[in-house]
Amino acid sequence: MKNTNSLLVLALFIGLAFHGSGIFFTLESTYDALIHLFFANHYADSWFEPWDYRWYTGFTVQGYPPLVHQTIAMLSYIGGLKFGLFTVGLLAILLFITGAYRFGLVMTANRRVAGYTALLAVFSSTFIETLHIFGQLPSIVGLSILLHSLPEIYMYIKTGKAKFLLTCLSLIAVTVTSHHVTPIFGMVFFIFPLIGMVVMDYSRDKVNSNKELTFGVFFRSFKFLFKRIVIFGFSSLVLIVVCILPYWINSKKNPITQVPIPHGSRDNFLEVTSSGLVFFLIPWGILLFLIPYIFYRFFSKRYLFFGLSMTMLTILGTGGTTPIPLKILGETAFNILTLDRFTLWATIMSLPIFGEFTYRLVEGDLKEYLQARFGAIYHRILGAALAGGVLFMVLFTMSLGYFRPSQPDKINMLPIVNFLNQDQHDHWRYLPLGFGDQMAWLSAQTKAMTVDGNYHSARRLPELTTRAIERLENSKFRGVEGIGSLQQFLTVPEKYNLKYIFSNDKFYDPILYFCGWQRLQQLENGILVWEKLNVPPLSSILAKDEVAQWLKIMWGIIPISTVLLAFCINIQFMWYRVLKSRKLAVPEYMKYTITYANFPKPLVLINHIWAILMVLILCLCIYVFYLHNDTQRSPENVIMAYYDALDFKEFERAHSYLDTENQVPISQYMLEVSVTDGILSSYAKLDAITVTLSKETELSAKATVYTKWVTPLERIEKTYFHDLVKRDGNWHIAPSHLNTDIPPDQLFSQTGTSFYNHGRRRVTTQQTHHEDVLKQPVLEVLSAKLVKFDGQYSVIGELQNVDNVPADVVVKATLYNDEDNELANYNAKYHMKHKLMPMEITSFKVNFEGIAWSQTQDTLPPTFDPDEFTPTELEEQPTKFNLQCAGNVANTDLYKAVAFQKMTLDEKRITGELFNSGIQEVTIPLLLVSYYDAEKNLIWVDHTFVQEGIRVQRKQAFHYNLMSMECVSLINSSLDNCFVNGLPNADIARKVIPDRNLNHAYLQLQPVSRPDYDFLKLELNSYVGNPK
């Protein structure tokens, strides 16, 4: 039994049972696992072809080391992708525990301590977090193999035997092909200190005691071992370069142009406490209490270099809390690397020391000292506290994903996959919204392509690389910038052949509607499918970046070969060790066992003080947290809590903050809430809130609340006023007034025309029959102008559906300079009604946003903000424009039953009421305001979203602040280059309504007495959130 370590066996047993069963419940909802699954699916489909069309309009998988993906792919041939994923997960657990054991052994030369290290590795919160919350399989595999290689490196440098060089290099090759960052930084932070330790050990052999080990001795040993170090270092470098050569070539060829995407690990942990928790407290966990011991041990002579490395890792892991990491890494590296990996390595590095501590506490000198000094009971309590702490961290980390889910609920992908496979729907690109990381799992199951993706280093579209957003799919979490980026894709979907959107988040519905998308159907899994008309299908041949054949072959063969080679080389020794079929020499590193006696007494004291300090800090944090979150302790708190509750739609909680004496009953409150709709109450996310208190007395206060809301459409700022009262020591909000208007009747009836268009009249897989293709509705452009407003160019105009069927309208404008060179093109976003009934007119405006301009580099505003449009500076001024309008038969979203009434107008603003005379609730009304001069020529088109919805048969007040037209200048007004469905507009005008009476339109304009304009026109586009 001497060589079989029972603790290791126990660790393996518990580790596999605990993590092995755990991953089935956690791995699929982690951040990264499904991305790796998607990559694996790519290799399973086309092993040697690195190009994948399915994400980002095509990207190369050579941007990530392939070993783990290829292993999953290979296993997927046996039992499917998920089988592969979980098998690799199990292997990673196995490798990590054994790796920790071997690392512990090389560090401490004590099998018992190494056993404790392995056992603690199983329960280390950093490993649990990396595996069960982040799902970083390649990182774990890479690190584990690196740990396995450490004893071999030690042996080579110590003995210089070629056998060990072979084994360690074979393992390093595997590390390289599984994760690229691990070997590079592992070289610096693990292998260099290890080499230092070898040199130290070698020097120790030369002298008789530690005291005699001077720098001179060390330097001589170093000189002696230098050749081996160089051989090893150089060979490793060659491996790092050669094994994933295609990766390096790809990085060189396609440098990451992505603007830095914010990552929690770069935050200031004191400011952003959630990041501090996830990227500092959880990984360190119980180790935080042992910091003095860990550093004391690491700064002993033998471990000195590990100590330096450890200090470095600890500091780098603190992210933006201190300015040091930024200074060490430099701006670029700081913004590309996720710094949590440094903490990961630091905590893994401290495992052997933690193991040693545990050994000493459980059965070593510390136990004896504590029992002698404080008694057996205290020792047991201390042990129990430590064990309890470990257990608490394990439970806390494991349950984090349960209480604070990082992902939306699991989506059944089958209906979506079926939808994409049906009726040639995969001939267009799709976009999932609100899927979280599950979008990768959807992509893995279909051949259809999306413009989005989940590996942002591989992005190529400037629309994406210039935005600091992670995915379009969750753009709402990136506020205005995210929404702005999404809007660009929604406004010009033709450019990306984007036709279908799967929406799992109602939040995005308004922007889809106002960009001209329409609801198609709700799938069985509750996902709403939106489609856009007039989008051409993908061409059958798509562009790709070709790489040389030999690179493809390298990429396909080397990674798996490294595993096979490493397996063949290393299994032999393992075999000998396990079966004891041949007597093995005791490894060199086993000679440096230290006897654990005389635990340094001051350290006991220091560590006690430290631990008490940590407990105090913890208590303080909890207390501050309580103060901050005690919702009714101060007027600010109650306002914050109230808006937080409203933001998360927890109306019962919101109601509890209302004044108890003047309180509306909860049933009444809920009823009032249930009847309010509109952009703020249904689609907004609170972005910022500031509370100013006035007239604050002991028992009352008035609060002015400035709020900023991110809505899918634009940023909305709104100020609210509240009266606050204090009753029984708690602050409350006085409830506000409710409109008591009632409609005259209980029941209403309405008749109308509704339309239906068959998807396919004949059930056939062939192309739609000629006679089933509907004629495009005829539109007529009534006016079109190129104007400049505040330095920004826009094309404005009016357009009428002159056909007999409702039309869905797409307006695309292109700008040209005097030499007829194209400068920019873009589509009308929400400055128009996209659905027109027969004879209906809409004003429209096309703004030219970021991606519209042909020379994106020169003209692109640095960040996109829909509210603050940065005017684009151009050397070439647009002087002409071209307008392409396309009509397609529309049969949905044709609600027109809203009237303008009770209007008043003064020089500054127009106020009035909107009356919903129909039987659908209008969720968001969009008001389009057109300005005309005395000759009734269009000058400008503006818009405003009315913030409240209009309930059925009720009215809703609105107001609009009139603009000044002094800064609008007309550049070109012409109908010459206007085309409808590809035909010249003039021909249509001549044919369809040859004797058009222009006076009709003029008579409908609202006269206004202003010096800069004379008439106004109001139009309304009503978004019905829940059509009935």
Binding site: F721, E771, A897, S917, V992, H1000
Partner: protein
């Protein structure tokens, strides 16, 4: 080793010499015995040649789909090339060449006629909808084909059948260049045009073009309401008579009609409706103060209605305002409506608050509930002092100058 090398060299030389012997020129002539000239698609063809010399030439046959090579059957100097029916399914010109040793010996051409009997008629008809009036048309394109999908021969007679307004008419057409086409005009009456074609008893499928109504013409409107009082609660609706085009066709369902209401203040209020059987209805709430409305309706660009006028009388004669002791709370009402009942809930009350200097400080609005309304002026927002208060309700207006004083925190 050496002898073997010599032998190898010798053999190589021998090999080369034999090649040279082959090059001796040989006379080879071909004579055409029979070749097809005109035939029908799908027939088997035969070419016969008399050969002199010992070569076997190949027959290269080209048509619009590409070339095919055929091997002969040679019996005592006579070469026969049999071309099976499956190679002659395409109608049109065929060219043939007899090739020996990459050299063209003979060539010629022949014509294959399509089958006389049609098998299928391909038809295309569009646009799918036209406007009434007799000047707009759809075009029918007909392509009758034989069993091998060849267009029928020139001059084939085609009958075009058209059903319009319950009348069926047949018109002849002649095939030219493989297809025939005809413009089919609609009539003044809206409806549906059904067309088809037939050749030798084989019929095409039935195709449709919708004849939709032409542009709308001027129309009249009427209004409907419950009473003449401006209670801000009842709905007034405006209705058009059935709108038609100049041929008497009712305009398409869903045509948008804008109703523009001009009130006494010169504001243009608007509502809209879509037609159903030509009738569009627009709805609006009664105003909440006496007013005179002039209403016109538009199918913008095409047609408009006459102007009608509607007047509303005030539903409230007067109202009371009761101030609290500190003047910070005002109770309005009970407001009595035109039938001496409480006004319906939701009647708007507006309070304009002016500073002593006459500057408008704030406008507050509330709605009546059970005939009453209330304003509270909080001390936090309105410090003590004299204010001018203007209260408006149903077009009535009352002005007060009051001194706001301190009160307890409510």
């Amino acid at each position: 080793m050496k002898p073997l090398l010599y032998i190898l060299c010798f053999m190589l030389l021998l090999g080369c010499m034999e090649e040279n012997e082959e090059k001796i020129e040989q006379r080879f002539t071909v004579k055409l015995l029979s070749a097809p000239e005109v035939s029908q698609v799908g027939d088997a063809l035969e070419f016969k040649f008399a050969l002199e010399g010992n070569q076997t030439p190949m027959l290269l046959l080209e048509n619009s789909t590409g070339p095919i090579l055929f091997r002969p059957e040679v019996i005592s100097g006579k070469a026969t090339y049999r071309i099976e029916g499956k190679y002659t399914r395409r109608s049109g010109q065929y060219r043939w060449q007899l090739i020996a040793n990459t050299e063209r010996m003979l060539s010629g051409s022949f014509q294959l006629e399509p089958k006389k009997a049609p098998n299928k008629i391909e038809t295309y008809f569009g646009p799918r909808s036209i406007r009434a009036g007799g000047t707009d048309y759809s075009m029918l394109v007909i392509m009758p084909t034989d069993v091998y999908d060849n267009p029928l021969s020139e001059g084939t007679q085609i009958e075009i059948v058209k059903q319009l307004d319950d009348k069926t008419s047949v018109a002849p057409a002649v095939l030219k260049d493989g297809f025939a086409w005809q413009l089919l005009y609609g009539e003044e009456k809206a409806g549906r045009m059904l067309v088809g074609a037939s050749v030798n008893g084989i019929a095409s499928k039935e195709l449709t073009s919708i004849i939709s109504p032409s542009n709308a013409t001027d129309f009249t409107i009427v209004y409907e309401r419950v009473h003449e009082f401006a209670d801000g609660n009842q709905v007034i609706s405006f209705k058009t008579d059935p709108i038609t085009d100049r041929f008497g066709n009712v305009v398409s369902d869903g045509t948008l009609v804008n109703f523009i209401v001009t009130n006494t203040k010169g504001m243009r209020l608007q509502t809209s409706g879509t037609t159903l059987a030509g009738v569009a209805t627009g709805r609006m709430l009664h105003p909440d103060e006496a007013d005179q409305w002039a209403i016109e309706a538009f199918v913008t660009g095409e047609a408009k209605s006459q102007s009608i006028s509607v007047s509303f009388v005030s539903s409230v004669a007067d109202f009371d305002v009761i101030f609290s002791e500190d003047n910070r709370q005002m109770n309005i009402g009970p407001v009595i409506g035109f039938m001496d009942t409480l006004v319906p809930d939701g009647l708007q009350i507006q309070l304009d608050l002016y500073a002593d200097s006459g500057i408008l400080l704030e406008t507050k609005t509330t709605n009546t509930q059970f005939g009453k309304g209330q304003f509270i002026l909080e001390e936090g927002f309105f410090p003590n002092g004299t204010y001018k208060l203007k209260i408006q309700l149903a077009g009535l207006e009352k002005e007060f100058n009051r001194n706001l004083s301190s009160n307890e925190v409510e």
